[in-house]
């Protein structure tokens, strides 16, 4: 059904952004996910974030792997090229795309099945390389398309719809990302748009790998009593520790001094992240303490959300590779080819 275009009725009252586009211009095809799926809320947050940032949709590359979450790039930014790849391997495709065209804004959408099983290796190595990619993991603890098996993020003791209990330790992508040295690590909830939209905006502006784990409940297979990824459970156990407000470069920054609980981080593109520490003892700049705090609160059943860790200044993949300003795919052939004389000269060493 994804070929059914969404009706493009432009209500005159729809507000336009800085480049004259309405939110509708950032939408895609009609969703085919279940009614009430958390992923659709994430899609809406993506639309909102890109619209607010006034990003020209065609300058974005949207990529995914396989699964319910990976279908969603069809549902936003219809004027952006999409790449719905194979299971767990979106990071490698994004890596290649980023090498070829370092000017492309890349957003990858994955799920817990896609990222934490076959995709765990590629997820880890994309972090290692600090690929300039906004990576959203729509995490529901369950396989939807194959009807309700546990995923690797299912918490120990969590119950499946059929009543089975998961006995294995979960893989927490946030802890994995922190361990591997990711420079932007956040956790959010599909039901908390006020938190999610600024996080997406900040992640896009972050130079390097920006990771947002988004608890995004599966209404069909994992929204029951006993599930730790349901709407009810997440609402009850979510604790926001750092709220990020994203201030684009062009907007004047208010002159007031940040209060104690307010710190600012200036991103590579000149935009500013204003972090409001909701919890007094939490410091998102300190990776080790962030890790310890998340682990500690997990043991009390709390799911810490917000921008959990951010570090600026690390070289992204393009920097590590010493790529030129001009995207590689645009470098003219005449510059790339050494020519006939060079070939003749080179071959002296083979005689």
């Amino acid at each position: 059904m994804t070929y059914l275009p969404k009706p493009r009725v432009q209500h005159p009252a729809l507000t336009t952004n800085a480049i004259g586009l309405t939110r509708r211009d950032y939408e895609g095809a009609l969703t085919t996910l279940c009614a009430g799926c958390g992923h659709d809320s994430v899609t809406a947050a993506i639309v909102q974030a890109f619209w607010e940032l006034s990003v020209p949709p065609h300058t974005v590359g949207k990529l995914s792997g396989i699964g319910c979450s990976s279908k969603t790039p069809a549902y936003f930014l219809r004027e952006a090229h999409g790449f719905n790849s194979v299971h767990g391997r979106m990071p490698s495709v994004a890596t290649g795309a980023g090498l070829a065209n370092s000017a492309l804004a890349l957003i990858g959408v994955s799920g817990d099945g896609d990222s934490l099983s076959i995709g765990l290796g590629q997820f880890a190595h994309a972090i290692r390389r600090n690929v300039n990619l906004l990576y959203l993991l729509e995490n529901n603890g369950v396989y939807g398309l194959t009807k309700g098996q546990f995923s690797a993020s299912a918490d120990r003791g969590s119950k499946s719809k059929k009543g089975e209990s998961n006995e294995m330790e979960p893989i927490d992508p946030v802890l994995v990302a922190l361990t591997l040295g990711a420079t932007f690590v956040a956790r959010s909830f599909s039901g908390d748009k006020a938190q999610l939209v600024p996080l997406i905006k900040a992640g896009l502006a972050h130079q390097g790998f920006a990771f947002i784990d988004i608890i995004s409940p599966c209404v069909t297979f994992n929204d029951h009593e006993g599930s730790t990824k349901s709407y009810a459970y997440t609402r009850e156990h979510q604790v926001e520790v750092v709220h990020a407000d994203f201030i684009p470069r062009r907007e004047a920054i208010e002159a007031e001094q940040p209060a104690d609980a307010l710190t600012s981080v200036v991103l590579h593109d000149g935009s500013t992240l204003r972090l409001r520490r909701v919890a007094d003892d939490y410091d998102p700049a300190d990776r080790d303490r962030a890790y310890a705090a998340i682990r500690e609160r997990q043991q009390h059943g709390e799911v810490l959300t917000g921008l959990l860790h951010v570090a600026t200044g690390a070289r992204d993949m393009a920097g590590q590779q010493q790529l030129p300003e001009m995207p590689l795919y645009q470098v003219p052939y005449d510059v790339l080819c050494p020519g006939a004389d060079a070939l003749a000269q080179l071959q002296r060493r083979y005689r």
């Binding site: 790449f83 391997r89 070829a100 590779q321 790529l323 590689l328 071959q347």
Partner: protein, 599 residues
């Protein structure tokens, strides 16, 4: 046994002792004497200690195939003495290190033994364990120079080119060379009847390995992204690409690199990176070997169906599984032709030597772009890692990459609407667009069912419509892949011989030998897949077609039967799959055996 400029010798050493540079020195010196020469490195999957051999064949007629007949054996590895001594031709010579006595049981009456106290001489002349071991190699090069009449000045010249800025090294190399040379002159009747004389048969030729040539081809093709996972025997292809890029592609002003090489976490990721880069508009490739192809298969099917260009270099090694990682075979012919689940069929090019490796690497990129499909560049360890004598590489300065149908922003401006998989030209090839360039160019690349407009579909007609077009598109490439090379016999014959890739060198030599014995065969070498119609015509024009290839199961014959529809009984297989390169003797014997059986 007087064989001027027509003999072979073999050097048996242990891995990691530094013999490779001495062997290269000997070979290049012979080449500079104007005498055609080929080297085959037979090495173990090991870093240090296991036996390794280097075979050098000299042939005034220019045959470059492997030979299995050795006139002289340089036996420097006691662990393989017995085997090495058994391999010497009757009437031949065996050179050994007489620092230690040779067991009487290893003596053969029909072989002359030449003992040189290499270790003793080098221990006396050099200090330090490593230098003693290394200089022993140069010392045996000196012995060989005397025995085979290799021009010492050529060797000295090469040493100076190699160590130009290290006078101390030049001095010790000269000394070691003289040690061996003088000892041989003093103790043996030099030169031997098997020896060299200057010729003028290497002018306009170079000595190069296929991985270096293919890496260079990727540079000349304009490839900017290489993703790989190291695997023998393909590793040196990416190393060559890197070295040439460092030489030619670094912006002198900024130091920025006009290329990107990514060592992936595995082959699953390497091919993913290639597809991502191609999709975004770069020319991208990955070199690998059989095990890597197995891992890449899923993405290869994706690239076929979603129509993403990719160049995959398969430097084949002996399988199955890990197999023999350092030995050659042509065992991925079927795998690559139909890699991945579902109905797929892929373009392949099959170079026969390093020169073709250079040329076909460039062609592979053009084909991938034009047909928006994965293209397999099918080399093997023999081509990739051995030094071959080939005509100099040439470059047509008017060459421009064929990027295929890629719509520019200006073209999109003039279009009402763009549909990714709509065949507007009727040739099966649809236009693509690059991300980031134009709002009208957007499309959704997917491996799931899609219709001609690029939208998701499960509709039978829409699905089949795309599948039919893909079949047509790939079939049409039969006329665009490198055409078969045909060489008719001097006389009319009903016998044909078909081969592929690196078997070529052995086959041309065998065809000459068979012709001298009164057996004429027309010859066809397959150079591309899908097969051109002329291959079926060649088969039809002969009663019997010998199919020579290097794998157990006659994969080329299977491909010929599947693809040409020619009857099975038309084909006679001559296979070789020991892991060593095929020899002319093997081909000749195979053809003769079958003809005699049917006579």
């Amino acid at each position: 046994m007087s064989q001027v400029n027509d003999f072979a010798f073999k050097i048996a050493t242990a891995n990691g002792t530094g013999s490779a540079s001495a062997n290269g020195l000997i070979m290049q010196a012979i080449f500079r004497m104007g005498v055609p020469v080929t080297g085959k490195n037979v090495f173990p999957s090991n870093i240090q200690g296991l036996p390794t051999w280097y075979e050098i064949r000299v042939n005034h007629r220019g045959y470059t195939g492997r030979t299995s007949r050795f006139d002289l054996m340089v036996a420097l590895n006691p662990a393989t003495y017995a085997k090495d001594i058994a391999e010497v031709q009757s009437g031949g010579w065996l050179l050994y290190d007489s620092t230690w006595p040779l067991e009487a049981s290893l003596r053969r009456d029909d072989v002359q033994y030449l003992g040189v106290p290499l270790a003793a001489m080098c221990n006396e002349a050099f200090g330090g364990v490593r230098e003693r071991i290394l200089m022993k190699n140069i010392a045996y090069a000196g012995v060989l120079a005397a025995l085979l009449a290799i021009d010492l000045d050529e060797i000295r010249g090469l040493i100076r080119e190699k160590y130009g800025k290290k006078p101390a090294l030049i001095a010790s190399n000269d000394r070691a060379l003289a040690l061996g040379y003088d000892y041989a002159q003093a103790h043996f009747a030099c030169p031997l009847p098997v020896r060299l004389e200057r010729m003028d048969a290497t002018k306009g030729r170079i000595l190069i390995d296929g991985n270096t040539a293919a890496g260079l081809g990727a540079v000349y093709a304009g490839a900017t992204v290489g993703a790989w996972y190291p695997i023998t025997p393909s590793t040196s292809l990416m190393e060559a690409f890197r070295a040439f890029c460092e030489r030619y592609r670094v912006d002198p002003e900024t130091g920025r690199k006009r290329f990107a090489i990514m060592q992936a976490e595995d082959e699953l990721a390497a091919i993913g990176m290639v597809l991502g880069a191609s999709w975004a508009g770069a020319r991208a490739f990955t070199p690998t070997s059989g095990p890597g192809i197995s891992l890449m298969a899923e993405f290869v099917g994706f690239a076929y169906y979603a129509e993403v260009p990719a160049v995959i270099a398969d430097v084949q090694r002996a399988g199955p599984s890990t197999g023999l990682p350092t030995r050659t075979q042509q065992c991925d012919l079927l795998l690559c032709a139909y890699a991945s689940h579902g109905d797929t069929r892929h373009l392949c090019v099959y170079p026969a030597d390093p020169r073709e490796a250079f040329e076909m690497m460039v062609q592979a990129f053009d084909l991938a772009d034009r047909y928006q499909a994965p293209v397999f560049f099918m080399s093997d360890l023999d081509i990739g890692m051995n030094d071959w004598m080939v005509p100099e590489l040439t470059w047509d300065a008017s060459y421009r990459p064929d990027r295929g149908k890629v719509l520019t922003p200006a073209q999109l401006d003039g279009m009402k609407v763009f549909h990714r998989y709509l065949d507007t030209d009727g040739d099966g090839i649809t236009a693509r667009t690059l991300p980031g360039e134009h709002p009208k160019g957007a499309y959704f690349t997917r491996g799931s069912g899609h219709n001609r407009f690029g939208a998701y579909t499960e509709d039978p007609d829409e699905y089949q419509d795309v599948m039919e077009r893909l079949a047509r598109k790939i079939q049409r490439a039969a006329d665009a892949v490198p055409a078969p090379a045909v060489q008719p016999a001097d006389t009319t014959t009903r016998l044909g011989l078909i081969t592929i890739g690196s078997c070529h060198a052995a086959c041309v030599e065998a065809l000459d030998a068979l012709a001298e014995q009164g057996i004429a065969l027309d010859y066809l070498r397959v150079r591309g897949f899908p097969f051109a119609d002329s291959i079926r015509q060649f088969v039809d024009a002969h009663d019997t077609v010998f199919v020579v290839e290097q794998n157990r199961d006659a994969q080329l014959r299977s491909l010929l039967m599947i693809e040409t529809g020619a009857p099975r009984d038309r084909f006679v297989s001559v296979t070789h799959y020991s892991g060593f390169p095929i020899s002319a003797q093997h081909v000749t014997a195979g053809v003769r055996a079958r003809l005699e059986r049917h006579a």
